[in-house]
């Protein structure tokens, strides 16, 4: 399991990058979902999102999940390429797999990487 130290994490397995305002799903989340076959971003550029609001919907071969905003703010960009390449979420969840960028907002209830790693470990037992 991989959780970069520069990012913040939610209990519902999303990440947030305070430096860029980007957010997405964690490596743990993609491994739990298995092969992701469909991604739909539910917000548009210019929308204002609150912490906890659904920003994307993801379907894998066996499950479906909503992805919630780990930080609030004004949406400055959405990753439009994801819908054509949903498998990017499996291969590069922290890089090319970013979903939405917000600006001028604040993160919600988030953990640092070591706390998140511990949280994932607890759940895998």
């Amino acid at each position: 399991m991989n959780a970069p130290a520069s990012l913040k994490y939610t209990k519902s397995d999303e990440w947030f990058d305070p430096a860029t305002g980007a957010m997405g799903i964690t490596d743990y989340a993609q491994s739990q979902l298995s092969d992701i076959v469909f991604v739909e971003i539910l917000v548009d550029e210019g929308d204002t999102v609150d912490v906890g609001k659904a920003i994307a919907s993801v379907e894998s071969v066996k499950a479906s999940a909503e992805i919630y905003a780990s930080a609030g703010g004004k949406v400055s960009a959405v990753n439009k390429g994801l819908s054509d390449k949903p498998e990017t979420l499996n291969s590069d969840p922290y890089g090319e797999g970013w979903m939405v960028k917000v600006e001028g907002g604040a993160a919600g209830d988030v953990m640092d990487s070591s706390a998140y790693e511990k949280y994932c470990e607890e759940r895998s037992h």
Partner: protein
């Protein structure tokens, strides 16, 4: 296998578990006088007597196979059904009340659905078909749900052509109750002489879907390419409700650019019965497959590399996606969809085209002859397939009663849905109507006009 569900021993164990001594104790809450009321039924019949009684009752019905010449269509059509269709449908492997989808035990069923889907996609000119819906009307309503979901509820207007089947429009109205959608164009008082391209004037940036019928409810055939382009220019989707027989003869909605093509599969080897059950086909483009309701069977390989079939993309369905799914419909019409697949595979591409050509030619002969009758006339001048509106200049109910006296099931009374078409009937002609049948209709209607 015993048909007695429980043994006395099992019954006693159950009674003991719930804490009563006997079956009578169990029913104590029901007042004694209501437990075994006298029903005052006639004496039981023997099998022979019962069969006689039932045949007498059945003979009171008149049917289009042996008793009546039918010119009634309006959504259900009298076509010839090869006997093989019924023979395959009655095989025990398929004849179940519930479609078994488990790939380990249901390769036959799944392959049949896959073949059905492939045939429907080819017929409509679309990428993908689901495993079917209840009928054409519910399939059309599911198209509205797809468009609503595609725009995540942000586009709130659906344009419904006034020449879409009135019952389909009614089903759409039922489906969208509470969805905060605005229906436009759904007005039976709209001038029916207006051209479909005029619907383009209703399309705006708030429009999610435009629904048109092909051929339209009055049998008229239009090329919707320009209308579809106009809808796409505003970002809206277009659903074409098609008659599958007509698709063997005319340009496919897929080639016109339609986003969704739906319709009723009844013309493809399914009897008219009493108006159902039927089957609705639903086809769309690959880009919308995740928003499509219903089951979808895909082809794959098993762990030995053999070709096999399995439900696919199920995570979009309501049993997994719950309230976020496009629709709460998972059901398909497995058996009837199979019937259409058998019919299509028997007729083949050429056979279906022959059926469509016969319908077209016979309908045009009928229209030509009927339009010569004094005081009657065709309502529209546009090209049509196998159905047309005829003005009979007197109440359609009266005309149909007269036709029925002569063994003819007359056309659909258009005045009940379109006030402007009072005294107009919709006449359908298929390959089942011989030239003599048509001449009889013309003859009897001429008598009516001279009464």
């Amino acid at each position: 296998m015993t048909y007695i569900p429980i043994s006395p021993k099992e019954r006693d164990a159950m009674l003991e578990t719930v804490g009563v001594k006997s079956l009578d104790d169990l029913f104590e809450a029901v007042p004694a006088k209501h437990r075994f009321p006298m029903l005052n039924l006639p004496a039981a019949l023997t099998e022979m007597e019962a069969m006689q009684e039932l045949s007498n009752l059945a003979q009171a019905n008149e049917n289009v196979r042996t008793d009546l010449i039918s010119f009634l269509g309006a959504g259900m059509y009298n076509h010839y059904i090869p006997s093989v269709v019924d023979h395959i449908l009655r095989r025990g492997e398929f004849y179940t009340a519930y479609t078994p989808y488990q790939p380990e035990i249901s390769q036959g069923t799944l392959q049949a659905i896959f073949e059905y889907q492939s045939l429907m996609a080819a017929l409509t000119g679309m990428d993908v078909s689901n495993a079917s819906h209840y009928d054409g009307a519910t399939a059309t309503a599911e198209a509205v749900s797809l468009a609503y979901a595609q725009f995540r509820g942000k586009r709130k207007k659906v344009i419904v052509s006034p020449t879409l089947h009135p019952q389909y429009r009614a089903v759409i109205r039922t489906y969208v109750q509470g969805m905060e959608l605005e229906l436009a164009g759904d007005d039976p008082n709209t001038s029916l002489d207006s051209q479909p391209d005029e619907l383009a004037n209703l399309i705006d940036d708030n429009t999610s879907l435009l629904v048109v019928q092909y051929p339209d409810f009055f049998g008229r055939v239009y090329d919707y390419t320009k209308l579809i382009e106009a809808a796409h220019a505003r970002g809206a989707l277009v659903c074409v409700v098609a008659n599958p027989t007509a698709l063997a003869l005319f340009k496919t909605p897929g080639s016109m650019g339609a986003d969704i093509v739906v319709g009723d599969g009844q013309p493809l080897g399914i009897p008219m019965w009493y108006g159902g059950p039927s089957v609705g086909f639903f086809t769309t483009r690959k880009s919308f497959v995740h928003k499509m309701a219903g089951r979808l069977v895909g082809e794959t390989v098993d762990n030995r590399g053999q070709r096999s079939y399995v439900l696919t993309l199920t995570a979009r369905e309501q049993h997994i996606k719950r309230e976020r799914a496009t629709s709460n419909i998972c059901t398909n019409q497995g058996l009837i969809a199979l019937g259409t697949a058998v019919y299509l595979s028997l007729l083949g591409k050429k056979g279906l085209r022959q059926v469509a050509e016969l319908c077209y030619q016979k309908a045009h002969y009928a229209a030509q002859q009927l339009s010569k009758i004094d005081g009657m006339g065709l309502c529209f001048s546009e090209p049509f397939f196998h159905e047309f509106a005829l003005c009979v200049n007197r109440p359609v109910a009266e005309v149909n009663a007269h036709l029925l006296d002569h063994g003819i099931l007359g056309g659909y009374d258009l005045g009940q849905d379109y006030p402007a078409l009072k005294d107009h009937m919709l006449i359908a002609v298929t390959e089942m109507n011989s030239k003599e049948d048509i001449d009889t209709l013309v003859h009897v209607l001429s008598e009516v006009s001279h009464d």
